[in-house]
């Protein structure tokens, strides 16, 4: 099992959710986050005050999947989230030791 974390542009969330749904990924956790990679922030002016906004709003998607479909999932996220502009985001793949379903007590891949 693998745990996949993707940071994407907020307006791409719906497309990514549809792409994941299409390849059978059922559970997704979404968080609104701020951060920056190579993309620079922007500057805001309020009368005389100038603020460099270096943290850009992003959406973090987390999915736990079986190892066999990891490449399909990563590809789905990449193609759905891509605009070709700087700031499209990142995908991280982490090993996942165990998973449990709270309601039934199932574990392993059947809990995903």
């Amino acid at each position: 099992m693998k745990y996949i974390i993707a940071i994407i542009k907020p307006f791409k969330l719906e497309e990514v959710r549809e792409a994941l749904s299409a390849i059978g990924v059922q559970g997704v956790t979404v968080t609104e986050v701020k951060g920056h990679g190579r993309q620079r922030g922007h500057t805001e002016f309020y009368r005389g005050a100038e603020y460099a906004v270096s943290f850009v709003p992003k959406v973090k998607i987390e999915v736990a999947v079986e190892s066999s479909i990891v490449s399909k999932v990563v590809e789905a996220i990449q193609s759905a989230a891509k605009t070709g502009q700087i700031g499209d985001g990142k995908v991280f793949v982490l090993p996942l030791e165990e998973a449990y379903r709270v309601r039934t007590g199932e574990s392993g891949s059947s809990a995903l």
């Binding site: 805001e44 002016f45 309020y46 009368r47 005389g48 005050a49 603020y51 906004v53």
Partner: protein, 516 residues
């Protein structure tokens, strides 16, 4: 009959402004004195509009500009200020601003004869700017009350996000008593237009203005003068001096301030600057983001200020007539000119025209047109507005960083600088003889009948009067604010501690949060 603009060496004081006098009790009413129901209805409405400016207009304008952890503290300070001053106004404020004073202080502050609103009743009257035309005195009491309420509330923007609530109230109390009331008396207190009529037909009125023996003497001199113009002029000049003796100091200097450029805006703006200097900078200034938390709220407040300002400016005409319409129109034109100018200035220097800039420009325009609105013409109003937009933008964006004071919501940059600019430009564009830019001129009421005419205009004399007006407001408000800050510092303390400031005044001072 005869109307004179200059008599002897003395320029007759311009007789306009938001002030007027109550001199007639019902028992001694001048036969021709009338109360117009249309004027009364308009002034009651205008008064309600000025309430709307402070509450919630100014509260929302300021509330949106602070960080979300301090929004309730600003709203609460404005609320409490309004309520406190309204009560103080009825207790003694009206009396000290709008009655004759006594002794050497008479030109600077009124007396106690109407403390607790004694001697005011539904049948007493207050003068307007037309001869023989009056308002019920209660209308004038509440109209001026709303001015007194908004002025200290303006200062709150300067010390926002860091001053103790107890210190805010103590400071505003002291400042209201020793800076607002004297300025209102000095600029707006005068004998009223009918006191400048010297006529046997109005003998009762002449008596009520200068006293029984003096009145008989002046009327005798007038009768003796007959049709000799020089002699009549000499009598009128002496009568002008006698009747003007109780007027406010700046009024007699010839300073003109239609709706409160010096009394309200310079006064509050300078107090804001002194407070910002005395309190010091907010914790984290220029290190942490301090962006306004809700500019939609700020625009809502701007709109309510704009709307209420028609009561403030057009209401200061005290009558529902063409003069009120001119003030109304000039208020719109000055505001729009300044909003466009500020936006343009931002676009040129920053590549973006921001909403906050347009809203700030609108308020700067409203401030600058306030002293001018009833005196200038529509084209003059546009010029004043455009200059106010550029000058206040410069003050806020460049002047403040150079001197390094933390005037949190730019009370000095907008109200102080905008007020000074407006007060001086009023003296330029009141001129009735400058073509398309011509103003309304200054009314001269001195006559031997119920006529009034436009006085001769002398630019240098008028600018000097305006300068004295501006300087007086700066010095008085500066000194009073400095002493008031020291009193707060050594009694209740000026600032909250650093931990409270970081937590936000809403929780630390008021035990609540705006957004849950």
């Amino acid at each position: 009959m005869q109307t004179l603009s200059k008599i002897g060496r003395r320029v007759i004081p311009p007789l306009l402004g938001a002030g007027a006098l109550t001199l007639l009790g019902a028992s001694q009413a001048f036969a021709a004195a009338t109360i117009n129901k249309g004027d009364t209805a308009w002034m009651l409405m205008a008064t309600a509009l000025v309430v709307l400016m402070t509450y919630p207009g100014l509260a929302l304008f300021y509330g949106g500009l602070v960080r979300s952890k301090n929004v309730l503290s600003v709203l609460m300070q404005v609320t409490t200020c309004f309520c406190m001053v309204a009560i103080l106004w009825a207790l003694f404020g009206y009396s000290l601003a709008f009655t004759n004073g006594s002794g050497a202080l008479a030109p600077f502050i009124g007396g106690w004869s109407k403390a607790f609103l004694a001697n005011v009743s539904p049948s007493t009257m207050a003068a307007t700017f037309s001869k023989e035309t009056y308002l019920p005195e209660y209308v004038y009491v509440i109209f001026q009350m709303t001015f007194a309420c908004i002025t200290p509330a303006l200062i709150i923007g300067a010390f926002a996000e860091r001053m103790k609530f107890s210190a805010v109230l103590l400071f505003l109390f002291i400042w209201f008593c020793f800076s607002y009331l004297p300025m209102a008396h000095m600029v707006w207190w005068w004998a009223g237009p009918d006191c400048y009529t010297l006529s046997a037909a109005a003998a009762d009125l002449v008596k009520s203005c200068v006293g029984d023996t003096a009145a008989a003497d002046f009327l005798k001199q007038l009768a003796d003068a007959g049709t000799d113009k020089d002699k009549v002029a000499a009598v009128l000049s002496a009568y002008n001096d006698a009747t003007s003796a109780g007027n406010g100091w700046l009024f007699n200097k010839g300073a003109i301030d239609f709706a409160g450029g010096s009394v309200v805006h310079i006064n509050a703006g300078v107090a804001g600057l002194v407070c910002a200097l005395m309190l010091g900078k907010r914790v984290g200034l220029n290190k942490e983001p301090m962006a306004p938390h809700n500019l939609v709220t700020t625009l809502l407040g701007t709109g309510l200020l704009f709307f209420g300002w028609f009561g403030f400016n057009a209401g200061s005409n005290l009558e529902a007539n063409g003069g009120a319409a001119v003030a109304f129109l000039n208020t719109i034109l000055g505001t729009c000119g300044a909003a466009l100018a500020w936006s343009f200035g931002e676009f040129v220097t920053r590549k973006h025209a921001s909403l906050l800039g347009a809203a700030s420009g609108a308020v700067a325009g409203l401030v600058a047109i306030t002293p001018a609105c009833g005196f200038v013409g529509p084209m003059g109003a546009i010029v004043i507005g455009a200059l106010a937009g550029i000058v206040c933008l410069t003050a806020v964006v460049w002047l403040k960083p150079i001197f390094g004071y933390d005037d949190a919501l730019d009370v000095f940059g907008v109200h102080g600088i905008g007020g000074m600019l407006g007060a001086m430009l009023t003296g330029v564009f009141v001129n009735p003889n400058i073509g398309a830019l011509s103003g309304q001129g200054i009314v001269n009421y001195l006559a031997t009948d119920a006529t009034s005419k436009t006085a001769d205009f002398v630019l240098s004399a008028q600018l000097y009067s305006q300068f004295i007006d501006v300087l007086t407001a700066i010095v008085l408000s500066g000194v009073v604010s400095y002493i008031a800050c020291l009193i707060c510092k050594y009694t209740v303390g000026l600032r909250v501690d650093e931990q409270s400031e970081r937590e936000g005044l809403d929780i630390a001072e008021h035990g609540e949060r705006a957004f849950n």
